[in-house]
């Protein structure tokens, strides 16, 4: 089960992921990002501080936006990952393809 909260800070859309993302819940992550894009945000911060687990279904959602974001000038930074969640991204080398900050302060600097 995943709970997703969105708040807006300094012109960025902050999407907070709370719980676990797997094949049954990755659609909710997809919808949240799509909504943010649809509302015209150019800066998206994904707060992974309370993300306990992400499966390949969730990783795939992030991957699927990389090209579109490049084309549309949208920047996305993920931050606050636990070691376990970060490890999941790094097994596949996604830490090289996605922007990942340590905390919100660093994420905001990366997106500025």
């Amino acid at each position: 089960m995943i709970h997703i909260r969105r708040i807006q800070e300094d012109g960025a859309d902050v999407i907070a992921l709370i719980g676990e993302i797997d094949a049954s819940s990755s659609i909710e992550l997809d919808l949240a990002i799509a909504k943010s894009v649809g509302e015209g945000f150019k800066k998206i911060l994904v707060d992974c501080g309370a993300l306990e687990y992400i499966s390949s279904a969730g990783l795939g959602v992030f991957m699927s936006y990389i090209e579109e974001f490049k084309d549309r000038g949208i920047r996305m930074v993920l931050f606050g990952m636990s070691d376990k969640v970060w490890n999941t991204f790094s097994i596949l080398g996604l830490d090289e393809l996605l922007q990942i900050g340590k905390d919100k302060v660093e994420a905001k600097q990366m997106i500025a």
Binding site: S24, A57, K84
Partner: protein, 139 residues
């Protein structure tokens, strides 16, 4: 020691599968990071099975067996009666292709192959057995 979990093919049951794996491995002092990697690989195998071989039909059941003996590699078996999808026959797509094609899938096979030491398939008494083997550190 052997652990068995019987589960219906609804993706809503994946959370229960993950909890079963975590608790079983934790009982034997397997390190947390290794548990999380194994959970990731088996979540992938089980969700593939539920979605592709059983079309998420909750009436279809499969079994997940875990065989743990200290100092031996851990053996996981997924036993079912569906269509076999042998991931050894498929090459994981390159990450660049996944990004360019805006694909949401394709990462899973790469993940399972990077995490598990060995993946083999057998047909035993008419049932499909997918066996995944992984060496772990016992604390």
């Amino acid at each position: 020691m052997k652990y068995v979990h019987k589960v219906g093919c609804s993706i809503e049951n994946l959370k229960g599968v993950r909890d079963f794996i975590r608790v079983s491995l934790k009982n034997h002092g397997v390190a947390d990071l290794e548990i999380s990697e194994i959970v990731l690989a088996l979540d992938e195998m089980c969700s593939n099975l539920m979605i592709h071989a059983h079309h998420c039909n909750p009436e279809d059941l499969f079994e997940l067996h875990i065989d743990i003996d200290k100092n031996d590699p851990v053996v996981f078996e997924i036993v079912d009666d569906g269509t076999v999808f042998d991931i050894n026959q498929f090459h994981a797509p390159a990450l660049d292709n996944i990004v360019q094609e805006k694909r949401k899938g394709g990462l899973g096979i790469r993940l399972v192959k990077s995490i598990m030491d060995k993946i083999e398939y057998q047909n035993i008494s008419g049932r499909n057995v997918c066996r995944l083997i992984k060496s772990v550190h016992f604390q």
